[in-house]
């Protein structure tokens, strides 16, 4: 089999698992967003109920109760689906583990694969340590600077407003609701975006001025992807949400650390151990400790992204190969012509030299004959 065919077969093989894992990833992300939306809906309904009780509005209270019930049912339904998803993921993982175990019967392979697992787990540890560090820095900031807490709340509220407006736009009729659509697009949407960016600017300006290593992209990700919970009064629970996010990272970090311990001969890399050192540095110390790599983390590619890059690279390589072959053909043909021309030139010169030699020889012969005749006289 040609090398190219082998590579194609390998690529298609990888593509199958790549497609499956990216779809699973998509579903998990979608479920995560749905859960956040439903939790928010439930919180809103609970807040409405509280107001209705205060206002002694029985109808509003009943409506709020109904909304809470629907949200709870939806949450339960979603949980069932997420549990199914988890089962599929676990079964898939078991297949991968059992295949790895089978291949690991070969001691050489076993040692090799363990070294890869050690590297990958440490890579994940590094990523989560960095992200947790960022969350902890933000926790510290909002705890010590109420203005920054307000900025963060402003960002969260504006992001929520943008999402609400997006949802509303999807439901509107382009003809009937043109006025409202224009109002959203021309006034409300730009206002929300402007609030978000001004609050973000103030937050980041403080960080830059005080040398706090908050990564702008991470802050965006935190605001966009993490659903901040709300109190019954509608206030954003910044501290609680951030604390829960930080705890989530703790769980992941602990899981990876334990997983590394189970790998024969593997260890947690020194750089990851330092981040976990149980120290209580001062706010300033923590800020100064963040290095430039933390501020601008290098982009990590998912393995299927690497596959895609590999495919692109392969295509480019093929194009280059064809170009090179064509150029070589032209060069070869040109070289042949040159050789022929040289050979042709050689023949002409040879003929010329032969002719000259013959002429010289004849003249020499003639001279010799004349000389002989003179001697005879």
């Amino acid at each position: 089999m040609e090398l190219n065919d082998k590579l194609n077969q390998k690529y298609n093989q990888d593509k199958k698992s790549y497609e499956k894992i990216s779809k699973l990833n998509e579903h998990v992300k979608k479920a995560n967003n749905q859960m956040k939306q439903l939790t928010r809906t439930k919180e809103d309904a609970e807040r409405n109920k509280q107001r209705a009780i205060e206002d002694k509005d029985k109808v509003a209270e009943k409506n709020a109760d109904a909304a809470i019930k629907i949200a709870e049912q939806e949450i339960e339904k979603l949980k069932v689906n997420v549990s199914k998803m988890k089962e599929i993921l676990k079964k898939s993982k078991e297949k991968v583990d059992s295949y790895i175990a089978e291949l690991s019967k070969d001691p050489e392979f076993s040692s090799y694969i363990n070294s890869i697992i050690e590297k990958r787990y440490n890579r994940k540890l590094k990523k989560y340590n960095k992200e947790k560090e960022q969350v902890d820095l933000i926790i510290n900031l909002v705890k010590n600077h109420p203005a920054l807490e307000n900025n963060l709340k402003g960002m969260v509220r504006a992001t929520e407003r943008v999402k609400e407006l997006d949802d509303e736009l999807k439901k509107l009729d382009p003809v009937k609701d043109k006025k409202r659509i224009d109002e959203i697009n021309n006034v409300e949407f730009p206002t929300a975006m402007s609030k978000k960016s001004s609050n973000k600017k103030m937050f980041m300006d403080f960080c830059i001025k005080n040398n706090v290593g908050i990564d702008k992209d991470f802050l965006d990700k935190l605001i966009e992807e993490q659903g901040f919970s709300h109190t019954k009064d509608g206030d954003i629970r910044v501290a609680k949400t951030l604390k829960n996010i930080s705890k989530g990272y703790d769980k992941r970090i602990a899981t990876y650390e334990k997983a590394i311990e189970k790998i024969p001969g593997a260890k947690v890399y020194q750089e990851n151990m330092q981040k976990n050192a149980p120290t209580q540095p001062s706010e300033e110390r923590e800020f100064n400790d963040v290095n430039t790599e933390d501020i601008h983390p290098a982009k990590k590619f998912k393995w299927w992204e690497i596959r895609k890059r590999y495919k692109d690279w392969k295509e480019k390589r093929n194009v280059k190969k064809i170009e090179k072959e064509n150029s070589e053909k032209i060069q070869k043909s040109s070289e042949n012509s040159e050789k022929f021309r040289n050979a042709y030139k050689y023949d002409i010169v040879k003929d010329y030299v032969d002719e000259k030699e013959e002429k010289i020889f004849k003249e020499a012969l003639k001279d010799t004959k004349h000389a002989d005749r003179d001697e005879e006289r």
Partner: protein, 49 residues
């Protein structure tokens, strides 16, 4: 939406031919997704203030 998930289960056939690096990447990715699911399911158990 979730019916198609069954088709997403990774089979033994999908794994044959994968090299060691890809197998480990797949394993780690699956483990991460399982942790994501745990976090979604754990939403009610988050600590209150």
């Amino acid at each position: 939406m979730y019916d198609e998930l069954n088709e997403m289960e990774i089979s033994r056939g999908d794994l044959e031919g994968l090299n060691a690096e890809d197998l480990v990447d797949l394993k780690v990715e699956l483990e991460d997704l399982i942790m994501d699911c745990d976090e979604i399911l754990d939403v009610d158990n988050e600590e209150d203030e």
